[in-house]
């Protein structure tokens, strides 16, 4: 133990839930940034729409803030888009996405996909582009 470096000691003591906390926090931050970018909104605009200070939005996007479900819901309501989708929700949406051919998305074949699903697909595509 004494010979172990401080880095190894810290790596060993980090709990799984702390790793998950950071992972999900960063993923949420990236999701919000991606939506803001697609909408052409600045952090300042988001703050103003939410009635919050810009510093509060900075904290929210830092990847270390203890986000509440209430604050995520408020962000979603203001942005008009989902920030978090549970695996079950995603499963329902992806079932449709799975059968859509790329060419049919841009055509008028909306009989198999609702407007809402198309919007979701578009936001996934935008997020993929953002991450790339």
């Amino acid at each position: 133990m004494k010979n172990q470096s401080v880095v190894s000691r810290l790596r060993e003591r980090i709990k799984p839930e702390q790793k998950l906390f950071v992972r999900k926090n960063l993923a949420i931050s990236e999701q919000i940034s991606s939506i803001l970018e697609n909408k052409g909104w600045s952090q300042k605009r988001l703050a103003s729409e939410m009635g919050k200070k810009q510093s509060e939005i900075s904290k929210l996007l830092s990847g270390m803030h203890n986000l509440t479900l209430q604050s995520i819901a408020k962000v979603e309501a203001v942005l008009g888009e989902e920030v978090i989708t549970t695996p079950l929700e995603a499963q329902v949406k992806y079932k449709t996405v799975h059968f859509i051919k790329k060419s049919s998305v841009s055509s008028s074949s909306t009989s198999i996909c609702t407007e809402e699903r198309l919007q979701f697909l578009e936001s996934v595509n935008n997020h993929i582009k953002y991450l790339a």
Partner: protein, 176 residues
């Protein structure tokens, strides 16, 4: 007495998206660097144990997955805007990472790919300059960031071909 500062490439913090550096004062050894001194001093403090774990994990995850985007860092002191320098997105400021609670780690986000990690502590007052725990680290961070920024401008520290890492001579040191 003048202090001589060596740049330390943190061998355990070289990730796909971020290469982390620190500095050693009057030493060449990685184990003596400011960042490890911060970790060693803070690891036994139970009041910030969870915050330190989260900060540590955060450093690793942004290094592996996201890059050191400016939104992840809080600016502590404005030095100057060198946005004309490559990489274009770089805004040279001394920054600090805020963890929930009072733990502060001072650092210098040179770009999305290069970050210097310094020292820090538990901030107990509103302003870092007034806090006995962090004021020296805060002052030192600003001095170091300014010196590193100057070294980049003067090309004592140079970017690699695709601006994802820095290079410097093995005998390069900063005098404070």
């Amino acid at each position: 007495m003048n202090r001589f500062v060596k740049i330390i490439r943190l061998s355990e913090f070289r990730f796909k998206r971020v290469k982390y550096y620190s500095v050693s004062i009057n030493s060449n050894m990685e184990r003596d660097c400011e960042f490890y001194r911060f970790l060693e001093r803070t690891e036994s403090d139970e009041s910030v144990s969870e915050d330190l774990n989260i900060l540590f994990e955060w450093i690793e995850q942004i290094g592996r997955l996201y890059g050191a985007k400016s939104k992840f860092f809080r600016n502590e002191a404005y030095i100057s805007d060198t946005s004309a320098l490559p990489p274009p997105s770089a805004v040279m400021r001394a920054s600090n990472i805020v963890v929930k609670g009072k733990l502060r780690l001072y650092c210098f986000r040179v770009s999305e790919c290069v970050v210097f990690l310094y020292n820090g502590g538990i901030k107990t007052t509103k302003f870092a300059q007034e806090c006995p725990n962090v004021k020296e680290h805060f002052k030192l961070a600003n001095l170091l960031s300014r010196a590193i920024q100057k070294a980049i401008v003067e090309k004592s520290i140079i970017w690699n071909k695709n601006y994802t890492d820095i290079n410097y001579s093995s005998d390069f040191q900063i005098e404070l």
